[in-house]
């Protein structure tokens, strides 16, 4: 048994590949936070060097289809052999190795479920094109998070990976000698891993620590336990020790923390502990209410130790960002956007047709159509041509057999709500506007529309909810919508237009519902002033009108605002005065307006 190795790295960039090399599939992998390309490549290479020799490292191309992930029919081989030949998918090919996923935040739903399946079961089930099989796929994922703005790596996938770390790209310079001695340590640790035991006290401590930091679910503590074991194995221990649990807490739990633990002696709310960075607090709502847990139980001694380790490992500012994100109801859910990337070119079967004019040949379906006729055609060929059998084509395909791929472009509607949350509006009618939106949301739900929420106040606009069908979330977001500040109407119209065009590019029809009292008082350049603001709003409205996007202008002022009416005209939007009646009555009006809008 080698003594605890003094030369193990402490920096996460170097330690994490070692841990992953000890238990690649059990730990799942890592999310690399906005890595430089070279850094990500170096990370993957280092991990490969530490894994058993011959372990594959594969990079997933962007926009990979489910076929290639799962595997399917090897067409060339099938045709040559005259029988079905299966082809392994990328997941099966990466079995026992590493799969690098660039632009993980844009992964389509189908691909991400395939990856989740591989992580959960170490295998993928194939049920495509006449093949039913199960292929081993014990993969270790490196997700490259290259998101901007509101994009997020799907939590359903990110949660399954033990680590998340930013890559600075500096720590990559260890010489080959060091690397090979680490590789040897990783190899020995892999052998040790199965004989290892974890004392209950560490499982308990890791669970309690996760809870204290507001980490839901059992996945995180489970991964932490596995990490502690890998760490112990690296250090030549058969029994997990305090240092291992501490490392696990810092590496696995800290990046997932959603709050700081409540100190038992003082009952101050957790969000007061980290001062939010100024740029975040200017635009965002006031800090949210703490997560809805019951009171955190009394922390026992071991948990305390780990808690310090976690707190020390949380980079400053991260927690404040997390807290600022919280009112959205959950961290991330870029579900709407994921669906959007699926919309374009989602294959849906095949139909008769010739592969021209951009239509793509569906080879398999073409063969399938040709298959029943092969015997007859072969017989006909024998009669009609003098060619010897060897020169005759193996498979006779006629023009009528051609099938082309059919894609669904979903023409569903996305309703974008742009809500005036400015001071003037908030005081008067924000509550009623919220009521109206709730009615509209229920309406959209019935029609299976997607909805998106944006608010404007003060200096600009804010995306509260990217397009989604999950209306429960929309409601939560709405309830948390605060009011106050000026009315940058021109900004709001510009942003609504930009969003609507983005939605349209995503393949779905867009409709804008603008709720405001029309009292524009912030001009495009951000300066206050009513006259300039109104002129800008009118100009923005005219620009909006040019794109022919269906729009509804709901005037929330008590008696109707002439400016609002003029802006609505400029936008060529339907104008509705929010009546003093209840929201339900408004619902009827709006419904009619939307139907008219759709008819355009």
């Amino acid at each position: 048994m080698p003594s605890p190795s003094p030369d193990l790295p402490r920096a996460p960039e170097a330690l994490i590949p070692l841990l992953l090399a000890v238990d690649p599939h059990g730990l799942g992998g890592a999310v690399l936070d906005h890595p430089l390309h070279e850094a990500a490549r170096a990370f993957a290479t280092r991990l490969q060097a530490l894994l058993p020799s011959g372990a594959p490292v594969r990079r997933l191309p962007a926009g990979i289809t489910a076929d290639r992930l799962y595997g399917g029919v090897d067409l060339a081989a099938s045709l040559a052999a005259g029988r079905m030949v299966a082809e392994r998918g990328v997941l099966a090919l990466a079995d026992g190795g590493v799969l690098v996923v660039p632009m993980a935040e844009r992964l389509p739903v189908a691909a991400r479920t395939a990856l989740s399946e591989a992580l959960d079961h170490g295998a993928v089930q194939l049920a495509r094109e006449g093949i039913v099989a199960e292929h081993a796929a014990r993969v270790c994922l490196l997700l490259l998070d290259e998101s901007v703005e509101d994009e997020v790596v799907a939590p359903a996938l990110g949660d399954r990976l033990a680590f998340r770390l930013p890559l600075s790209g500096e720590a990559a310079d260890e010489d080959a000698g060091v690397l090979s001695s680490w590789a040897r340590m990783a190899r020995e640790a892999r052998h040790r891993l199965l004989r290892q035991t974890v004392d209950d006290q560490w499982i308990t401590a890791l669970c309690e620590t996760a809870d204290a930091f507001g980490i839901d679910g059992v996945r995180a503590p489970l991964l932490a336990v596995r990490c502690a074991r890998a760490h112990a194995a690296l250090h030549g221990r058969l029994l997990v020790a305090e240092a291992d649990a501490e490392a696990a807490a810092a590496l696995v739990l800290a990046p997932r923390a959603t709050r700081l633990p409540i100190p038992p002696e003082e009952a101050s709310p957790p969000e007061e502990t980290p001062p939010p960075p100024p740029e975040a607090s200017a635009e965002q709502e006031p800090p949210p209410e703490p997560p809805d847990d019951e009171a955190t139980p009394e922390p026992p001694g071991l948990g305390e130790l780990l808690r310090e380790a976690v707190a020390a490992a949380i980079p400053p500012g991260v927690l404040a960002q997390l807290l600022a994100q919280l009112p959205v109801g959950n961290r991330g859910g870029r579900v709407g956007a994921e669906e959007a990337s699926l919309l374009r070119g989602r294959p849906r079967g095949a139909r008769h047709g010739l592969p021209r004019g951009g239509a793509r040949l569906h080879l398999l379906e073409t063969l399938r159509a040709a298959a029943p006729w092969q015997r007859a055609r072969a017989a006909a060929a024998r009669l009609s041509t003098a060619r010897p059998p060897a020169e005759r084509p193996r498979v006779a395909v006629r023009r009528a057999d051609f099938r082309i791929r059919r894609f669904v472009e979903r023409t569903g509607t996305t309703v974008l709500f742009m809500v005036d949350a400015s001071g003037s509006s908030a005081i008067q009618r924000l509550g009623e506007a919220k009521g109206a939106i709730e009615v509209l949301l229920a309406e959209s739900y019935a029609r299976r529309d997607r909805v998106s929420l944006m608010a404007f106040r003060g200096q600009g606009t804010e995306m509260l909810l990217p397009p989604t069908r999950a209306l429960a979330r929309a409601r939560k977001v709405l309830a948390a919508l605060p009011g106050g500040g000026g009315t940058p109407l021109a900004h709001a119209i510009d942003a609504a237009l930009e969003q609507a065009l983005a939605i349209r590019r995503g393949g779905s029809a867009a409709m804008v519902v603008l709720l405001t009292d029309g009292r524009a008082n912030i001009a495009r350049d951000g300066t206050p002033g009513r006259a300039a603001a109104e002129a800008d709003a009118l100009a923005a409205g005219r620009r909006f009108a040019q794109q022919g996007i269906a729009a509804l202008f709901v005037d929330t002022s008590p008696r109707g605002e002439p400016v609002a009416r003029r802006v609505a005209e400029a936008m060529r939007a339907r104008y509705l005065l929010l009546p003093a009646a209840d929201a339900k009555a408004l619902g009827g009006l709006v419904r009619a307006a939307l139907q008219v809008g759709e008819g355009r």
């Binding site: 059990g26 029988r83 399946e117 049920a127 094109e129 949660d159 596995r226 029943p372 739900y445």
Partner: protein, 347 residues
């Protein structure tokens, strides 16, 4: 074959486990929809169920797993065989639990022309799909809310009619496909189509365990399973065997159980109070209570049985109000308390 986690070793999640057991006792209850957070062991429970199910009798050599005693619902091949007057041999096979992967293509779900045979011999043969494999068993769709619409339509059609009709590439086949649909999903990642929701007999909510002790136990067992699956399964073997026997006993008792008129009336009144549309809710409620009574070895179906299954049988049938703050399960319980708050204690 990768080892499956034993059903009995699942910590907590009692409502989900009960719902799965009830539909295993009486498949006519319909499917189970499991709503829940990520990483709460939804998939684990469904896959573990496979290990718990007793064997069933099937026609030997039948690709659709036909019931030897099944009258009226035979596959074309069995029909042809009995028309030829061949004797039917029976074999014991495990009740199928079939996974429908989200990436499945339509032809694999419903079945398609056997391409290999067609290319090699020119024979037009039908290759059964996942619906055929799930016949008389369970069809599990993880993240069913993300399933593509055209696949959902196929499932709905088969679930409603109990058979699968295929018209593709010149093959024309109709075969029985009776299966219990088990779906799971996280509603925050996309709502389920209302039509699909209605097809599920029972719906349960799964939450992340709040109590730390529970979480610790979950992780302790999971860790033990990961480390040595064989030893872990051996350890839980007896518990699973016991649960399997209980399930089999309950199936035997089901036929003989009567539901008293009083209970029928109560069930009807509850559905009326909650305004559930259609008879499906009432029927499910009764079947589920009967299965529960059989499972518990009770003499009769009591109000207590009704009360226990009411939330899972009705929560997804309430008039949809997406903006309602209270969970629908709570609404069911509230209605029960209003209707017969004290009656339960008496019964």
């Amino acid at each position: 074959m990768r080892p499956t986690y034993p059903f009995s070793a699942i910590v907590g999640q009692d409502e989900m486990k009960l719902a799965l057991i009830l539909v295993a006792i009486d498949p006519t209850i319909g499917g189970v929809m499991v709503f829940g957070d990520r990483g709460t062991g939804k998939s684990t429970a469904v896959r573990a169920l496979a290990g718990l199910l007793p064997a069933m009798k099937a026609v030997a050599g039948c690709r659709y797993g036909c019931d030897p005693k099944g009258n009226g619902s035979r596959c074309p091949e069995c029909l042809a065989r009995s028309a030829r007057g061949e004797a039917v041999r029976t074999v014991q096979v495990p009740i199928p639990v079939v996974d429908l992967p989200l990436g499945a293509t339509e032809d694999r779900v419903v079945g398609a022309l056997d391409l290999e045979k067609a290319l090699a011999t020119g024979e037009k043969a039908f290759e059964p799909g996942l619906l055929a494999r799930a016949h008389r068993g369970f069809l599990y769709v993880d993240e069913v809310n993300l399933l593509e619409d055209h696949l959902v339509d196929l499932l709905l059609d088969a679930a409603a009619t109990g058979e699968n009709v295929v018209e593709r590439e010149g093959v024309s086949v109709r075969h029985p496909a009776r299966f219990v649909l088990v779906g799971s999903g996280n509603p925050e990642e996309g709502e389920l189509r209302p039509q699909l929701l209605d097809r599920f007999g029972l719906a349960v909510d799964v939450r992340t365990p709040r109590a730390i002790a529970t979480r610790i136990e979950v992780i302790r067992r999971r860790d033990a399973f990961d480390r040595d699956p064989e030893a872990f399964m051996a350890h839980w073997h007896r518990a699973d065997a016991k649960a399997r026997r209980a399930l089999e006993r309950a199936r035997g008792r089901l036929e003989a159980l009567e539901v008293a008129d009083e209970v029928l009336e109560r069930a009807a009144a509850l559905c009326a109070q909650l305004g559930t549309d259609g008879l499906r809710g009432e029927l499910t409620l009764l079947r589920a209570s009967r299965a529960l009574a059989a499972y518990e070895g009770a003499e009769t179906v009591t109000l207590e049985h009704l009360r226990q299954v009411a939330p899972m049988a009705l929560r997804h049938r309430l008039r949809r109000n997406v903006l309602d703050e209270a969970g629908s399960g709570t609404r069911v319980e509230r209605a029960i308390a209003e209707l017969w708050g004290d009656a339960v204690a008496v019964a």
